[in-house]
């Protein structure tokens, strides 16, 4: 019995190792091909680089220069960082107000936020692009507010859910001690909210960093973000795709998010579970 169980767990262990190899294989292929010469990638992506097909860092140098990837990378970083910070701050404030001040107006606003979560992007993409262009928010700073508008639904929903479970006593004590609502919020509420704010921030960061269609429609191909740059590098150059540079671009899009993951894995997985259960 004991021997059989041991045999069972060993075979599961070996199966899991094989599965891990299978899961890592696609990422490995991209890394490997980013070091091959541009004509030795398509058609033979599984061949290891040889003396003739090894390109060193050439793809990273030419690929990044030619497609304006450096600028796209920084733009993506700027948009992601500022959007998640603004969403975290403003949505916590909104959520707190909506939970603590109960009237018909706040209830209606809250319902609209929840409703927006089930509306697919295609429903509003055409008219949203029109409105955002009309009010001249179609630039890397304006898009931060567009992300605030789109991120508000899930963020306010998750933050409100947490605030509802926090006893009001502390806030009332602060008020009696003479705190204004603004002081109460920053000194009492925000520190208590921290775990949920981290969760919301991680979910938003993953969404905005990887988002393609919204920045493509609003910023176009001139002020491209990283996913947009990748898409147009592939679709824009008919017949003459630089596969080497393209592989380097894919690696550049993957690496930051994997580093981010390895450092904050615990929060990311917790955040994903929380987001799944509530969303």
């Amino acid at each position: 019995m004991e021997a059989r169980r041991k045999f069972g767990s060993t075979s599961i262990f070996i199966l899991m190792i094989m599965l891990s190899v299978l899961f890592l294989f696609p990422i490995f292929i991209i890394f490997m091909n980013s070091f091959k010469t541009r004509f030795s990638i398509m058609g033979s992506p599984f061949r290891l680089p040889t003396a003739e097909t090894f390109a060193g860092f050439e793809n990273y140098v030419t690929g990044i220069k030619s497609a304006g990837i450096g600028g796209a990378f920084l733009r993506s970083l700027f948009i992601t960082v500022f959007s998640v910070l603004i969403i975290a701050l403003l949505c916590s404030m909104t959520a707190w107000y909506l939970v603590r001040v109960k009237n018909k107006l706040t209830k209606a606003i809250y319902s609209l936020f929840v409703f927006s979560m089930i509306v697919p992007f295609q429903m509003v993409m055409y008219t949203m692009t029109y409105v955002v262009t009309k009010i001249r928010f179609n630039n890397p700073i304006g898009i931060v507010f567009v992300y605030l508008g789109f991120g508000a639904g899930l963020s306010v929903f998750m933050l409100s859910g947490f605030i509802k479970s926090v006893p009001i006593d502390l806030e009332e004590a602060a008020e009696i001690d003479g705190c204004t609502p603004l002081q109460t919020f920053f000194r009492i509420v925000l520190p208590i909210l921290k775990p949920t704010v981290i969760t919301v921030t991680i979910l938003n960061a993953m969404w905005i960093w990887n988002d393609y269609l919204l920045p493509y429609l609003i910023l176009g191909t001139q002020k491209k973000t990283l996913p947009v740059a990748i898409q147009i590098a592939m679709q824009g150059a008919y017949g003459s795709v630089n596969w080497g540079g393209f592989m380097a671009m894919l690696v550049l899009a993957i690496v930051p998010i994997i580093i981010f993951y390895l450092f904050s894995q615990k929060y990311i997985i917790e955040g994903v579970i929380a987001g799944a259960v509530k969303g």
Partner: protein, 276 residues
Amino acid sequence: MKKYFPLFVLPTLLAFTAAFIIPFVMGIYLSFNRFTTVGNAKWVGFDNYVRAFSNSDFLNALWFTALFTAVSVITVNVFAFLIALALTKALRGTNIFRTIFFMPNLIGGIVLGYIWNLIINGVLSYFGVDISYSAKYGFWGLVILTNWQLIGYMMVIYIAGLQNIPKELGEAAQIDGASSRQALRHVTIPMLMPSVTICTFLTLTNSFKLFDQNLALTAGAPARKTSMLALDIYNTFYGRAGWQGVGQAKAVIFFIIVALIAFAQLKFTGSKEVEN
């Protein structure tokens, strides 16, 4: 505190109004109009909806999306559950396995699509074809991609569910002489139903709304046969002059289907909670 509304709520509400509320209302209105820009809309009643439902690309996308979603929901959840079961058996290196299986979930849809485009075309090149040769290749390519992306995510939720089952239940079943297969069927799986519901609906909505992966992997090739709903709506809007109204009508239909799925989920989880 009441008078702090402009400070606490207004900034978020303004952004939300500009990005969502106004576009949503305009979208509903425009689906009953013929237009090429928002300025020249002309009321046509339900004409766009009639044209949408008699459009073979749309019907094909609807069917393709439904089939793809059904296959993905089953495969993703079966694999994710089996892996979660294996990883909760107190194995060596459980955390490392979990880290690896979850990783693809963080990669963006466009990048995911091109990674698999390279790999699938690399395999198919041994047979002298590529992914645009047949809609079947595109279909299974999308299924493989979605499995790779979502298995780790659902696995994490199943692991959390499995760890929440009290150990005493399994022990009691063992004392009563249940085999491990019987314990799985009569103890583990019934206790895991809340996680099953969550994962099923998550896979369902994720697969149904797929866009980036579809665009990067097949872009609808061959001949729009592998276009899913979101991509078909996009192509109707931006690829066909004079069809913007039909695109908007398709988008409203898409929204209604997604909303129905969401309400079904709400009902389903709600009734489960009452039973508990």
